[in-house]
Amino acid sequence: MKPKFAMYWAAACGGCEIAVLNIDEKVLDLDANFEVAFWPAAMDVKYKEVEAMEDESILVTLFNGGIRTDENEHMAKLLRRKSKLLVAFGSCANEGCIPGLANLGTRESIFDCAFDNPSTENPAHLRPQIACQVPEGVLTLPPLQAVVRTLDQVVEVDYHVPGCPPESHQIAAVLDVLIAVVKGEAELPPKGAVLGAGDTSVCDECPRSRDVKHIDKLSRIQELPVLDTEVCLLEQGLMCSGPATRSGCNSRCPNVGAPCIGCYGAAPGVLDQGARLMAAIASVIDAKEPEAIDRVLDGLPDPAGTFYRFSLAHSLLRANRAALAEQE
């Protein structure tokens, strides 16, 4: 009997699922070596069928998405119980990712933003409810939790595959490892390992030329009249997170002239990616007087969102104080 495979999608955009499909014919290897037990995006299996499975009967579950709702939490705990190996797959599951940025505001502010913004028509200021009476009965929605949590903040996680989404060639490589293990050709990597990524930072893979850094202005890409195709983007005044971001993507964004936004998370051994970026960027600002420093920093209108674009929910502070207070 083939070992069982599962993949689940919590608070995420779906990109991780697409990325898995992007491995092309490699997906056939998956099918050849595993029995897909549960994969809502690919096939119809009900939650209660999962609940009925024996504990640890699934060999490996790729869990993508953060924990935003009670449903996410329930499924994380359920799949943890049912799986031998639980893999936090993609940035959301590992560090909260873009949904995690909502941790900078309270639930109220999230609803205000989503349902009462200039592009919505909502004169009654309606809000989604956890339960709603309709003629046919009560409709329910899973409660939204105060903050987004990462998978490892809710359950124990065996492996981490970073990236938003993980690069397909990396997914294929992870799959190869799993298949080799199944075939008895390889040992399982040590628990807690980060799979499908490099162990330096993006600059290591970036082909751009690099020099000593003196930043006297931070710009957004559209503000630069010309972008040098050969030179480090940070040196050109673009806020590139590459120096503080784990390698593994083959410097995809900088290759095409877009600064790295940090989706592979912190480099190995780093506690807080945002702190690393803050320290690094502030260190190379070419100003000594407070006012001059501030002028450079004004080019960075959303520092928390920039430095913690992907890693906020897994950072030391995790969220805005008001949002965290609601959690208590």
Binding site: T200, C203, H214, S247, A266, P268, V270, R276, S283
Partner: protein
């Protein structure tokens, strides 16, 4: 995330915690027994196997206590909660080393300076002491065994300042057989002492005792003199400094000039000498600072020289009459820069005179016959502008009554709060000299007479016996306006409250001498910056320890001597100069020095060569290795500040001695009593 290594480490480590009473210094405020009990019981799960409190941990018996426990209890790490690590870190590291554990596996918790001495609430102080001990225990668990870094010491020494302190220091080092580069800003050695006539309390002629030393320095084969020069830049570290010296153009060829003086004689320009003659004498546009100048070379002042003022035309008398071949006058001489390699540096940059104009009520600069003490010094000097005669500003009249005002600009919260240390004795000396030369009535106006040196108070008694008057009181005003009908014009009236007699007095005199205080050099802050040392709030260079090390500074290999460190008299300056030399010689004789192994290093496998760190090091210790696309840190140049460690975006730079792990663990320990319970990882030994 669970930290297995930490758990394991706490399990296998055996930490001893020692809480010092420091007599009652700590124990009077901190409940030391409670702190020890806390460590023994609450920190048992963190690897603490024993905790003791003891009267004086730094005593021999205290040290033996630790040694004994290391041997008998098998301690692997030691925490001493006592005074500041700046005092006894070394002591306890040595204890560890003697007992066979790496000295860097010890940690001090400062509960005296940072707790007992600054807090009064005993309960709060004890709680804080516990937190600090907790922080130290967590930190020591993360300490790594380290080896001291050994650096070779270049035997050459830089002495900055050619006053009496610098001269003494230079001679001591040179006599021991090592090269000295002596840098002097002025055109001649000698400093302020060269301006004086006599020295207190012995009344030796200043020049008689100073010039032999100047000559000895000037002719010493090991001493390389750079006068009319300034230190521009200092790079490197103890044992290995590279110093850039700027040689200002003196427009005289040092190698050719014989010092015959014909150029000075022929120069037609006469200007007031504001410097050496304190504004009461004249010099030429090309001049010697003073007769016994070392080196015996004139210097040309382009700001007053006719040739330079006239846009490089005219006069040239000096050049025309110069008898040397080739001609010694070099109108085109340029600033020059010399790079020197030295192992140690002695700063003996001296002092500036307090500007008495800042106290308008004393009339200096407004009332002709108000003089500064330095002006009177020059007047008393036989080689000075009046050939030793004490006269009024008219240059003729000898005063019949002279008032000497003490503490001008010193011990005065409007100017300098400190005592300038030398003014009392200087005033007594000047009173004696005036009395001796003019027979005038001399009044000394003083706040307190401070004569703490050898034979000083005897000198005070002698001057009193000579009939000098002493009025205790701070002078309110010096005025030339008669008030009472009995007062005549043409006199100066010293208004003072005689606090011994309990009455206001107006004492008529012909001359008032302001005993101006000593101030740090106007540019001491900049000079300090050049040498990487700090100034006190008053502006004097800060010594390493006010009592135990008044010679070294916080920068290894930079020493201070003389008034640059604070006001002092000649014997003290000479002593400190010699002491600084002794410290330097000790370094030189050791051949190499053990430095704190606090250094940054790059984990090459984690470095991506982003080059964020490359521009951050002021010591140029970080370089980029293009072939391997990684940055590299030169341990010999690294000074251990840790800026690059904090800046590395990939966490690829490690800082030994102050690693992330150590600091983060210390934070956890310090906050253990307030941290939310869930963060508390139960760790069992």
């Amino acid at each position: 995330m669970t930290d297995k290594t930490q758990q394991e480490r706490a399990g296998e480590e055996r930490i001893g915690v020692y809480v010092c009473h420091c007599g009652s210094n700590i124990a009077g405020v901190v409940n030391v027994e409670a702190v020890a009990k806390f460590a023994a019981e609450d920190l048992k799960d963190r690897g603490v196997v024993l905790a003791r409190d003891y009267t004086f941990m730094c005593s021999v018996a205290g040290q033996e206590l630790i040694e004994q426990d290391i041997h008998e209890q098998g301690l692997t790490r030691v925490v001493v909660a006592a005074c500041s690590p700046h005092l006894h870190e070394k002591t306890f590291r040595n204890v560890c080393e003697r007992s066979g554990i790496n000295p860097y596996l010890s940690e001090m918790a400062s509960i005296r300076e940072h707790v007992a001495w600054v807090h009064t609430d005993k309960a709060a102080a004890t709680a804080k002491a516990k937190a600090i001990v907790n922080g130290a225990v967590e930190r020591v668990l993360k300490n790594e065994p380290l080896e001291a870094i050994r650096v070779p010491i270049d035997a050459a020494t830089l002495v900055v300042g050619g006053g009496i302190a610098g001269l003494q220091a230079a001679l001591e080092v040179a006599e021991a057989g090592y090269d000295v580069y002596l840098i002097e800003r002025e055109a001649s050695l000698g400093g302020h002492m060269a301006q004086f006539d006599k020295t207190f309390p012995t009344l030796d002629c200043a020049a008689c005792i100073l010039t032999p030393k100047m000559a000895a320095v000037g002719s010493h084969a090991r001493i390389h003199l750079f006068t009319w020069s300034e230190v521009e830049k200092v790079e490197g570290f103890v044992g290995n400094y590279t110093v850039t010296v700027k040689k200002k153009p003196r427009y005289v060829d040092e190698d050719v000039c014989t010092g015959c003086g014909i150029c000075v004689e022929k120069c037609p320009v006469m200007v007031v000498d504001e410097n050496f003659e304190a504004g009461i004498g004249y010099r030429k546009a090309i001049y010697w600072p003073f007769a016994q100048a070392v080196p015996n070379l004139p210097v040309l002042d382009p700001d007053t020289c006719t040739y330079f003022i006239g846009g490089k035309g005219g006069c040239k008398a000096c050049e025309i009459f110069c008898p040397t071949v080739p001609n010694s006058i070099l109108f085109d001489q340029k600033e020059e820069r010399v790079s020197l390699k030295v192992g140690n540096i002695i700063l003996a940059t001296g002092w500036d005179l307090f500007n008495a104009r800042r106290i308008p009520q004393y009339g200096y600069g407004r009332l002709a016959n108000v003089f500064t003490s330095l002006e009177l010094e020059r007047m008393c000097n036989a080689a000075g502008p009046t050939s030793g005669r004490v006269v009024l500003r008219d240059g003729q009249t000898a005063p019949k009554a002279v008032g000497i005002v003490h503490c001008v600009g010193s011990r005065d919260r409007n100017y300098n709060g400190y005592c300038s240390a030398i003014c009392c004795m200087q005033s007594l000396k000047l009173a004696h000299l005036v009395k001796e030369r003019t027979g005038a009535e001399v009044y000394n106006f003083y706040i307190d007479i401070r004569t703490p040196g050898k034979e000083y108070d005897e000198f005070y008694l002698r001057v009193m016996d000579e009939g000098v008057h002493f009025v205790r009181g701070k002078v309110a005003e010096v005025s030339d306006v008669p008030i009472a009908p009995s007062e005549e014009g043409g006199k100066l009236y010293v208004q003072v409250e005689d606090t011994l007699a309990g009455l206001q007095r107006r004492i008529p005199v012909d001359m008032v001498v302001l005993s101006a205080g000593l101030e740090p050099r106007h540019d001491s802050a900049e000079v300090g910056k050049t040498f990487g040392i700090a100034c006190s709030t008053n502006g004097w260079f800060i010594e390493k320890h006010a009592k135990m090390d008044p010679i070294a500074t916080m920068t290894e290999g930079v020493f201070v001597a003389g008034c640059a460190q604070g006001p002092k008299d000649i014997p003290a300056s000479v002593s400190q100069g010699a002491a600084a030399a002794a410290r330097v010689l000790s370094h030189i004789r050791q051949g190499e020095l053990a430095l704190e192994p606090i250094r940054a290093s790059v984990l090459e496998e984690q470095c991506s060569g982003c080059r964020i760190c490359n521009g951050l090091c002021p010591f140029n210790a970080i370089s980029f290795v293009a072939e391997r696309k990684v940055s590299e840190i030169n341990a010999a140049l690294c000074q251990g500040c840790g800026t690059c460690v904090a800046a590395c975006p990939a966490g690829a730079i490690q800082g030994s001695g102050f690693s992330n792990e150590q600091v983060l663990a210390q934070i956890e320990g310090l906050l253990r009593d307030v941290a939310q319970p869930v963060t508390r990882e139960p760790v069992t030994a």
